[in-house]
């Protein structure tokens, strides 16, 4: 029988109280316990970046945290980017318009990394965008349209 803990986390401004196994990753907790499946689980050892979310406002790998470690913290996942389910965040809009995704598996992580990057940077060079996204692997696009999408998002997102 696994050891468990009761935790309270705030995800996209909603508080959740759950009892979790101490060895559940934060990514699995979000997907299985809370039902927020926008955070994708790829490599599960911190290489692919698909599970990127914001922990207290800073991007982290949710596969490299235990759910118990998020107790008392605030998370923002890809579901929290847009204002409502019926609209897209300007970054999502830019990815849509510039074909910045194909299969879409890596996209949640790339959106969260881009969100953090563009919050800090204005008018970044293509080189800076590529470096910022170096921790997010996409196997479909070849990255060209992702870089274009980030450049468009930089123009389109008033921040």
């Amino acid at each position: 029988m696994d050891a468990t803990r009761s935790i309270t986390v705030t995800v996209n401004d909603t508080r959740y109280e759950r009892t979790v196994s101490v060895r559940t990753s934060l990514a699995d907790f979000l997907r299985h316990d809370i039902g927020l499946t926008g955070t994708h689980v790829g490599c599960e050892h911190g290489v692919c970046g698909a599970c990127t979310l914001l922990l207290d406002g800073e991007p982290v790998r949710s596969c490299l945290m235990l759910a118990v470690q998020a107790d008392g913290h605030e998370l923002t996942t890809v579901e929290g980017l847009a204002g409502s389910q019926d609209e897209l965040h300007p970054i999502q809009q830019a990815f849509w318009e510039n074909h910045g995704l194909q299969c879409g598996f890596c996209t949640p992580g790339i959106l969260m990394t881009t969100y953090d990057f563009l919050r800090r940077e204005h008018a970044p060079t293509a080189c800076a965008i590529r470096e910022a996204l170096a921790g997010n692997i996409c196997r479909c696009t070849g990255y060209e349209n992702i870089v274009r999408a980030v450049q468009a998002a930089d123009q389109g997102w008033e921040r």
Binding site: R23, H45, Q69
Partner: protein
């Protein structure tokens, strides 16, 4: 659910942590930033039966000067040190090295002490701490001791920290004002482990000569290698390119780096021959500006 089962402890003080380590010994594994340990747990390369999460030991998350030293608490996040307002001199090898450590997501969680205690032979912070002549502050049941960086790293993932001990801080000595630093590396992709990384700090004297130097190389042995002969050959001399290149070539010839699918031993020696002079040159330029 990826890791094998473990009992989870989250102490909030150093004393409590040492108590748990004393009780469980080798069965326990310390969890700091988790950017190396959690992959190992997820892949079940490590299966500790007790996990001691020290993220709540907030007394270890400090960064500041202690007298003339820079004192970095072991739980300081790598991103915090990277963004810290350090002077441009020798100490800047730390943020320069951190730029190569994983990605921003990794550095947001990864800790300075975690990387040093993990002692991956290709890691940047161990090499940078060796270049600076840092001292590792270790707490154990019998009190506190300090171990110089050159005696701290003892082979693959092995350090001077005992099973009942805890690395609590990294103490970096002062360097002369007119000093500079560089960290250069070659990796397959930005943020990957270094094939070879070179940390350098150089202080320049009134005549333009090398007054003091520290150079350490990651990725070429089971632990960071301090380039003692290069440093000895440079101190007191003008840092002319020909001299540095000759010293680097002699130093590289004596290395027996690992060979893997990313590169042969000779390729890594070749990288040392190129990267070490570049690191010294950048450090000297930084010292002079």
């Amino acid at each position: 659910m990826k890791p094998a089962p473990f009992d989870y402890f989250d102490p909030t003080t150093v004393e409590e942590t040492l108590g748990l380590l004393g009780e469980f010994g080798d069965e326990a594994k310390l969890l700091a930033g988790g950017q190396s340990l959690l992959p190992m747990l997820n892949l079940r390369l490590a299966r500790p039966s007790k996990l001691v999460d020290i993220n709540g030991v907030t007394a270890l998350a400090h960064l500041g000067t202690d007298g003339d030293d820079l004192l970095i608490g072991a739980l300081t996040r790598q991103r915090t040190l990277e963004d810290a307002d350090l002077p441009d001199g020798a100490w800047s090898v730390l943020p320069r090295a951190l730029h190569h450590v994983g990605h921003v997501h990794i550095r947001n969680r990864g800790t300075v002490g975690g990387s040093i205690a993990h002692a991956d032979p290709a890691a940047e912070l161990p090499a940078a701490s060796c270049a600076l002549g840092a001292r590792m502050v270790i707490r154990g049941p019998s009190g506190e001791r300090e171990v110089p960086a050159e005696a701290f790293f003892r082979g693959y993932f092995t350090t001077a920290v005992g099973p009942d001990e805890l690395l609590t801080a990294i103490r970096v000595p002062p360097w002369p004002t007119r000093s500079g630093a560089a960290f250069v590396e070659v990796a397959r992709r930005h943020g990957d482990f270094a094939q070879v990384g070179v940390a350098a700090a150089v202080a320049i004297g009134d005549e333009g000569e090398v007054r003091r130097a520290g150079i350490a190389v990651a990725g070429v042995a089971t632990e960071p290698v301090i380039a003692v002969a290069v440093v000895d050959g440079l101190v007191g001399q003008q840092p002319a390119a020909a001299l540095v290149e000759q010293l680097a070539a002699e130093f590289a010839a004596g290395l027996t780096p690992p060979a893997d699918l990313h590169g042969t031993a000779e390729y890594r020696r070749q990288l040392v021959r190129h990267l070490l002079p570049r690191a010294v040159d950048q450090s000297v330029r930084a010292a002079l500006t």
